[in-house]
Amino acid sequence: MAATLTAQQPPNEASSSSAGPSSIPGSSAEVFKKLHPSQYLSRFLTKGYRPDGRKIKGWRDVSINVGSISTAHGSSLIRMGDTTMVCGIKAEVSEPTAQAPNEGYVVPNIDLPALCSPNFKPGPPGDEAQTYSNWLNDLIVSSSTLSPSSLVISPGKAVWVIYIDVVCINYDGNAFDAAVLAVMAALKNVRLPKAKYNEETTQTICSRTETYPLQLGRIALSCSFGIFSSTHLLPDPTSYETPLLPTTISIALDEDNEACLIRQEGLGGIQGKSGERVLGEAWNLAEERITELREILEESSL
């Protein structure tokens, strides 16, 4: 009987555990994981592994899928381990501001809805989502990935507004890297209709048949790290590891491996290593990883 299929799990099991359905309540490893997360993680690290089975310096698998949302001008779905992000880009027409008649608008926003993690509440974007939205805005504007001056239809009259909306579906840590990758994949996927501004009707009319891709500048990709108990530099932290990592480092590099964004938060470094060395180590790891990511990104946009 299909309706009673799931009733095979005892009901009190679900109420006593708040973890995913894969957890086996009652097993001592699962209890230890919940009660002593820090020790749990450190035992894995002394053996050279992370709790999810990768090597200490390992990254999670990434897959990119573009163009799956037909209501957007460009879209992408990316998975980084279990973290899943959807980015949809929609273009609308607006008037430029009087101060900048030759500039369109780029409006990036990241949403981490209550759907994607038990830690988020429904309602307006939380602190984390707001922070990431601002980082993303900085990254796109400062590294001129998409320059507002390329979005003009008619100077002073009509410009494109590019709404970049990233929505997280499954939050398993490292949302910023995943979001940046999703945005870059979606930007490459955008096809805008050819638009003409009509002076008499003051209307912008778009062609149904002719489309063109966006003029993109530097494509920056980001890599994030966390430092565990001043000893281990952990790339690509999961949602389980994140609360245990007081220091985080994010590095975003462009095609020529030039930095677009470097950010370190938290006081802790690694004992016995200068901050410079730690950052250098992270940079080298990021360079390697970003080369890989770039290949996956190229493959996806073919």
């Binding site: 009901p11 679900a14 109420s15 409006v107 974007p125 499954n170 398993d172 009319i205 949602s239």
Partner: protein, 269 residues
Amino acid sequence: MATFDRRRIPAPEISIPPIYEPEAGPSTKTKRVDRSDDDESPIFLKTGLISQANGSGYIEAGGVKIACSVYGPRPKAPPYTPQGTLNLEVKFAPFASDPRRAPLRDTEPIHLSQLLTQSLIPLIKLDLLPKSSIDIFLLVLESESESSVENVLSNGLTVASAAIADAGIEMFGLGVGNVITSSQKTDNQDQNQDQDDDEEHKNNENKILLGSIPALGKITNITLKGQFDLNQAVDMIEKAFSESKDTHTILAQSLLEGAQERGIGAEEE
């Protein structure tokens, strides 16, 4: 908007969706050809994709893509309630439809959330869950045309009950939603489970949205839209009910597959 939204990256106050030039030839969007009128729309349904949630589901059907996650039963803040509480929120991704749904300006989800809650309450054994709450979140990633509210609701109901079952929460039965549309123009009973494009919407005026528990032979919700003869309405409800059994089979199948993938219930086989 008079209030400035500090929580998001600011957008220009007014922006309009692109206006396209009129189509040259006759409209190419006419009748769908990929399936006949009596065929139900294909459904893709998968459970357990959102690892952070206790239960989850993803559905693609009738031009709608919805992800749903269920958290709970989790402890609820006081006051004490002898029954469990069901919280449900429907949210549209800003890029989910044409025109873009700007956050804050979009009021439709509130009403949809209420309707879906009403359809789900009869399914769940809330009396078994005192002091706890079940939180259900639906995220609409795509809904092709403006008037496909019924499709969002019916598929939302199906995917939500899949996710609740995936979370291992006890239910009376699996709930499914089905939409039947009949064309007024031709007056022939044109059984479409959904519409795929706008042209079809204009011809098809009468709609029935049926929420049901096929395993128990019970109906949880009926929404009618349009002008009906009584007989026609009864006909359509019956049609919808018979289609709901097929949807139920798909739903049960995907739950079974989802459970087997994770090795639950494998020893019973």
